[in-house]
């Protein structure tokens, strides 16, 4: 019998080993999968009812806080400013996946990182509030100015400090009240969420950094940078023909100026007048695809900005222009038309502002017409408002784009600092010299050109307007302004980008008239003018 008893022991041992294996599967190897199961609301319920850290603007306004209610959960998340910061703070909800800072800084707000739990050895024995307060870089007065200036038009406003990348204001209308989705009554929260989700204007989407638009003429800043960087365009040379239409090479539909007007001239002039024909030619026949792509990507196109918010969208610039056909030569001097198909050696050009410019050749591709359109911010170019603010910021900050961020620091309840966001360079968009040329050109646009509505007396302001035609019938277009402002003789302290999304029949609106006043209101709010 003893043999059988031993076998029984082995059999029972095997059964228990089976249990142990399954325990490991459920509790360790497969735990994450189970925790992520759609039916598993445990993590949510647990997180939801806990006290979390606050979010506070740079000027001390509370954006998000936990309020103790006791029933049905201990704490409820409250967003006192409602819609104003909805796209920044996001929400923490029982039924809906959290968004915004609530999501990006979930652990820090909940107080779970080890370094927050154990600041000193004594913390082992203390019951301490370990949640982090997020100190935002946003300023409440500027954010409110952005909201009231944009009003009920659909659009976005982004304002940031070019020197650090700190975002000063970021506003998108339509917005929503995050308190509705944070409702501890799951059914009510769900209803609100479904309603918002069904809204065709998509108020849940933080378009300022999550949606891309045709940048229109504001993109000419990137084209100009590409030209100056590649050494073929100077501030005053070449001088483009005054014309009302540009026929792309090798073929394509002609590109005209706004309202059929004629324009041309040197870089400063064509930026001032936002001259489509000149910039289309510049991109297609002077700069060429390679340099255009390099410049656009140097500004951050085709990359995702490293902002401390989830799901940021990357801006796009086309990289494929079809098969190479031939080189085209460009000549300095307005009278000389470029000779096609005759690649010759570049002649010594004029000296302009210390930079020696040369004649040369650019390759022509099947779809160089596409490049011509892209050079004026049409066709496949698409940018977030945040990206366009970074373009202006790069010009204002000697060519460097700082990593954009909304959280300046994270502090403990006692005020001690858990973490500080140090300014970091994200991209070197252009050389300092190029930035200086464009800086002057943008100031000129704000003084004499299409961005006059952005100018603020007593400040050095630069700008560039944009009107991105959407090619719809009836015609629609987005009105843009990008710009920067600072005290005279000092580096710019704020860079802005504003887009007012077109409404039907608003084709005649231009960035200068519609968007620039909003940018100006934001700048004025920042410098506390009025």
């Amino acid at each position: 019998m003893n043999v059988r008893i031993r076998r029984l022991g082995v059999a029972l041992g095997v059964l228990y080993l089976l249990l142990f294996a399954q325990l490991n599967r459920v509790q360790f190897f497969g735990a994450e999968r189970l925790q992520d199961n759609v039916n598993n609301s445990r993590g949510l319920v647990r997180e939801f009812g806990r006290e979390r850290g606050r979010m506070i603007t740079a000027d001390g306004v509370i954006v998000a806080r936990s309020v103790e209610v006791g029933e049905p959960v201990d704490f409820v998340r409250e967003y006192p400013e409602g819609e104003l910061y909805a796209h920044i703070s996001g929400y923490q909800s029982l039924n809906v996946a959290s968004t915004g800072l609530e999501r990006e800084f979930n652990d820090e707000l909940a107080g779970s990182p080890i370094d927050q739990q154990f600041q000193t050895f004594a913390d082992v024995f203390r019951d301490r509030d370990t949640t982090a307060t997020l100190r935002l870089t946003l300023r409440h007065d500027v954010q409110e100015a952005a909201r009231s200036a944009l009003g009920d038009r659909n659009g976005s406003v982004v304002a940031l400090d070019p020197r650090t990348g700190a975002i000063i204001a970021m506003w998108t209308w339509p917005s929503f009240d995050p308190n509705l989705i944070a409702d501890p009554d799951g059914a009510a929260a769900n209803d609100s969420y479904e309603t918002l989700l069904a809204d065709p204007d998509d108020p849940l989407l933080a378009k300022a950094f999550r949606e891309v638009f045709f940048p229109g003429s504001t993109f000419k800043l990137v084209t100009a940078s590409a030209g100056v960087e590649s050494g073929v365009i100077g501030a005053f040379d070449p001088v483009f023909d005054v014309t009302d239409s540009y026929d792309p090479i090798p073929s394509g539909s002609p590109i005209s100026n706004f309202a059929g007007s004629s324009c041309g001239g040197d870089l400063i002039e064509i930026l001032r007048a936002s001259c489509n024909t000149a910039f289309a030619e510049m991109g297609a026949e002077w700069i060429g695809p390679e340099q255009m792509v390099t410049a656009a990507e140097a500004f951050g196109f085709n990359h995702t900005p490293p902002i401390d918010l989830p799901n940021a969208a990357g801006s796009r610039f086309p990289t494929d222009f079809g098969a190479y056909l031939a080189d085209v030569e460009f000549y300095r001097g307005a009278e000389d038309d470029p000779v096609e198909g005759d690649p010759g050696e570049g002649d010594e050009g004029e000296v302009d502002g210390g930079i020696t410019l040369a004649n040369g050749t650019v390759p022509v591709h099947e779809n160089t017409a596409r490049l011509a359109q892209a050079s004026i911010g049409q066709n496949d170019v698409a940018a977030t408002p945040l990206q366009m603010a970074l373009v202006a910021a790069a010009i204002a900050n000697e060519g460097l784009i700082m990593a954009p961020h909304v959280v300046g620091s994270q502090t403990a309840a006692d005020g001690s600092v858990y973490d500080t966001t140090n300014p970091e360079v994200w991209r070197a968009a252009m050389s300092r010299g190029t930035a200086q040329v464009l800086h002057s050109a943008m100031i000129n646009v704000a003084v004499n050109g299409t961005a006059r509505n952005l100018a603020v007396p007593g400040l050095t302001v630069g700008g560039k307007t944009g009107t991105a035609q959407l090619g719809t019938d009836p015609p629609n277009s987005h009105a843009w302004i990008v710009g920067f402002a600072g005290p005279p003789g000092q580096p710019a302290e704020i860079a802005v980008a504003v887009i007012v999304e077109a409404q039907e029949g608003a084709s005649e609106q231009t960035g200068g008239r519609v968007a620039a006043p909003i940018g100006r209101a934001v700048i004025e709010a920042y410098f506390s003018i009025n």
Binding site: I5, G13, Q22, E32
Partner: protein
């Protein structure tokens, strides 16, 4: 011979051999006591962040129970295995802490902790009582028919109209006067004794030949198990009784054929049950895919999986999880609660405790001299090990879920008292095998 200056030695007491296991046991019981008290304190902190007011009385009460159990063993079965009692107390203690912790959260559960501590006391009293009443396990063989009849009567008691109570679909409760209990828990011990005694008589026959009529007993056991399942709708007990019988029969006869016959009969019964009862089909469907209806039929298993997953390696902490989301967490699903709040480390500890109990039980069986003692011990150990496996496997979805208690851990007086009696019988048997100290003759 001249006296050399050897090391002086302490005098070896004659009872040395017998008391050594008790010294080991004393140390283990002490450790178990510390574990339980720490666990209780932790559970209280986790829930209310303050030292519980009743920590003092609890500590005294719990340690007193442990001490009483140990001292009684010291006196009544000094030679018995030193690890079985501490393991049972550990399981009982961790289960109690979990039940006390759940009593705050489970709806209508405020009495659970008090009742369970009372039942623990009753269980330990039953343990001591059994040690007193049963001086030699083999005397039970003399009462085999009495025990057999008693076992079957207990099993059938819930079916008797005036006594039986149907609770939560299963008719496994009986009320005698003010006391509600599950007679099945006690029946299993009586039946284990009966099976052992019966098979001792017939095992020689079973070994030598095999005629159709020799299959009668296994058929009767099968029919009985089916009856339990059909009439009382108690799948777990049914499976447990049948397994008990087949295992003891196999060990007694030393013929693997009976395992085969058992397996075939089991399969037949399972198919029969599956085709006859929707609740059996439902159990199997849940087992195959609980996520098919995560908020409906599969809810319990799905929530248990989530609870275990939340536990991870070291658990959410006692009092800090949400085991109360699982229906019947204090009885059938207490293993999931422990897994959630103490993690893989805690649930594995439960497995290990049962393995130690099984190992000790089988060692007792191996050492037993008489066939009855061997078979009875095998039976008791199988009951303990298989019952724990059935419910833990059910919770973990290794086997279809059949509601049954986790011995020593689950809430429930009948289960606790019956298992303490079972433990006492194993201890008694173990003690008998140890050498009695021989008084030296001068």
């Amino acid at each position: 011979m001249t006296a050399t200056s050897r090391r002086r030695r302490t005098r070896v007491a004659p009872a040395y051999a017998a008391l050594k296991p008790r010294r080991v046991e004393a140390g283990l019981v002490l450790m178990v006591g510390v574990v339980i008290v720490v666990a209780y304190a932790l559970a209280s902190f986790g829930a209310s962040a303050s030292i519980p007011a009743n920590l003092g009385p609890f500590l005294v009460w719990m340690l007193a129970l442990l001490l009483i159990a140990h001292l009684a063993t010291r006196r009544l079965a000094p030679g018995a295995d030193p690890v079985m009692l501490p393991m049972a107390l550990l399981l009982n203690g961790l289960g109690y802490v979990m039940i006390a912790r759940l009593s705050n959260d489970v709806p209508g559960g405020s009495d659970l902790a008090g009742l369970q501590s009372t039942w623990t006391a009753v269980g330990i009293a039953a343990y001591i009582g059994t040690l007193v009443v049963v001086p030699r396990v083999r005397i039970l063989a003399n009462y085999r028919y009495l025990l057999g009849i008693a076992g079957m009567a207990l099993l059938a008691l819930p079916l008797v109209p005036t006594f039986g109570r149907q609770i939560n679909g299963a008719r496994i409760w009986a009320s005698v006067g003010p006391i509600n209990f599950q007679p099945g828990e006690f029946a299993k011990i009586a039946l284990a004794a009966f099976f052992a005694a019966y098979l001792v008589e017939s095992r020689e026959l079973l070994r030598s030949r095999l005629e159709l009529r020799d299959l009668a007993p296994i058929g009767v056991a099968w029919a009985g198990s089916l009856a339990v399942m059909v009439l009382e709708r108690d799948l777990g007990s049914s499976l447990l009784f049948f397994t008990l019988f087949v295992v003891v029969l196999w060990v007694a006869s030393e013929r693997a054929m009976f395992l085969g016959i058992g397996a075939v009969l089991f399969a037949g019964g399972a198919v029969l049950a599956w085709s006859m009862f929707t609740h059996v089909q439902q159990r199997v469907d849940i087992w195959r895919d609980p996520f098919a209806s995560p908020k409906g039929d599969g809810f319990q298993i799905v929530e248990a999986s989530f609870a275990l997953a939340d536990g991870g390696l070291t658990g959410t902490g006692l009092g800090q999880g949400e085991p109360d989301r699982i229906p019947f967490v204090e009885t059938d699903f207490i293993f999931a609660a422990i897994g959630e709040e103490l993690g893989l480390a805690g649930s594995t500890a439960i497995l290990m405790a049962f393995l130690v109990l099984i190992g000790s039980g089988l060692r007792v069986a191996l050492r037993a001299d008489r066939p009855f003692e061997k078979l009875f011990t095998v039976g008791l150990t199988t009951l303990l090990g298989v019952q724990a496996f059935i419910i833990m496997g059910g919770v973990l979805r290794v086997v279809p879920l059949t509601g049954i208690t986790l011995p020593f851990v689950s809430y429930g007086g009948s289960s606790l008292v019956a298992n303490y009696i079972l433990l006492a019988l194993l201890m008694r048997m173990s003690h008998e095998q140890r050498l009695e100290p021989v008084p030296a003759q001068s």
